[in-house]
Symmetry: C2
Subunit: 281 residues, 2 copies
């Protein structure tokens, strides 16, 4: 999507739709936007970014280093409240907890997600890298496929596809034409459609934004997240991100999805793993 | 270690040392055994098994499917209390929270670890496996090296080494003779010294029992766990386990450790990932 003006961090769709308003100490009101839904479900990564933002307000450190989320019930667009607790504050790291609730018809709160998270300051970390991991081999973005390229479209009408600029590696889109690779892999380029660059909060969205690897394993249908833990390892450089997701073990009706996110400076900026329920076969 | 009689699940050192006693609804007293320490620190996997046991009592389902632990302060041998909360109970899965506390000199409780966990029933899952992952290539156990084999000894006098039967792949013990491989890999065979077979709770110990991969990356010293999430995917078959740990990204003073645990029936029974602080260089 061509943008007349590139949105900036702090002034973008993502920033507006993850805004939280302090109600009282540690309690934040939020509005789950219908713009981040897949079919009728609110995207789990978007919800994680909202919780991450509230915790960034509640804790003395700014950046999520590790965030563990257990998904309890399905969220819907509309009002929500996030209740946070500061568990421990240290010099370099602090740990907190947050729960996102929505309201039942009688007004009672229903918990949607609970997270434990440890925060720090990414900008204080040394630049040194001791390992030799390299970014995933993904073809140039102009050779990758997005929703406008026909068969690679994400099935169903999903508002979230208009907010994201995802271009999948042709090697991992066989599912879209009925020819899944049989490998538990999904790879592609990721950006926000309005051109906003990535930051630690938007990485929480990025790790859960690609189609599930189960599509390439020949299983169609919903793969609800049970638990998703994300490590943010480095502040991402401006420019598009590369995301590679792998599944080693689809067994017993569950699968894990491991995501790596690399930035334009070839730094591994985020790693995540989720346990999800496999689609019924 | 030759055993006259093999200990059984439910009647072993591990079972006795992870016992929890109901104090009141959802609250369990425990005693952290000095038998599971490395130098003076209580092993994080042993602590996780204790928390997992308390949650198995508190929740309507028996088996940990995914357990996310954030480590707050260092535990010491001695009395502890575990406070649990049932967050959500469903037909096939339930989610709970648990915190392990110890006591300051004035009697106030100090929180050591907090976990979120989702439990289910492993024995109700179908046997089907859709992926083709294979166990790690580890030499036969008689060609692997344990503490009694001299240079491969875990440094320091650590009580836990007497409770475990760990035999490391010679390819990942270069650190012990001052010649680390430079690869972020650690592999070996794992058993409990008294011969007790593995179960879902002992797997929580297994994932955090090998020396850190940072040794093979040439960094000596302590690698304290910040967060550790474990997925238990299958009830392990009797017999020794194989554990493979890899680190892709040691950067900015932190590293992730991914562990896979395979059973004697070649099933991937557990996967874990932790974020740890790298030793100071």
């Amino acid at each position: 999507m061509a943008q007349a003006v590139q949105a900036r961090i702090g002034d973008s769709e993502f920033d507006r739709d993850t805004a939280v308003a302090l109600r009282e100490t540690g309690v934040y009101d939020a509005e789950l936007s219908a713009g981040w839904t897949i079919i009728h479900a609110v995207n789990g990564g978007y919800l994680l970014a909202l919780l991450g933002r509230a915790l960034g307000e509640a804790l003395p450190h700014s950046d999520p280093f590790t965030v563990s989320a257990h998904y309890l019930t399905a969220s819907q667009p509309g009002p929500a409240v996030i209740r946070t607790e500061v568990i421990r504050t240290g010099r370099t790291l602090s740990t907190g907890q947050a729960s996102l609730f929505q309201y039942a018809q009688d007004g009672t709160e229903v918990e949607r997600i609970r997270v434990l998270a440890t925060y720090g300051e990414l900008d204080t970390l040394p630049d040194e890298v001791h390992t030799t991991a390299t970014p995933p081999a993904i073809p140039p973005i102009e050779h990758c496929l997005g929703p406008a390229d026909g068969p690679a479209a994400i099935p169903g009408s999903s508002a979230i596809t208009e907010r994201l600029n995802i271009k999948l590696d042709p090697a991992t889109v066989g599912w879209a034409i009925g020819a899944p690779s049989g490998k538990g892999e999904m790879r592609g380029w990721f950006g926000l459609a309005d051109g906003r660059d990535a930051d630690p909060l938007s990485l929480l969205l990025t790790v859960d934004a690609l189609p599930p690897t189960s599509f390439e394993l020949g299983l169609k249908g919903w793969t609800p997240t049970v638990e998703l833990t994300t490590h943010i390892r480095c502040r991402p450089a401006p420019g598009p991100l590369r995301v590679a997701i792998t599944t080693r073990n689809l067994a017993g009706g569950f699968l894990e999805e491991d995501a790596e996110v690399w930035d334009s400076a070839d730094r591994l900026v985020a790693q995540s793993r989720q346990l999800a329920k496999a689609p019924r076969t």
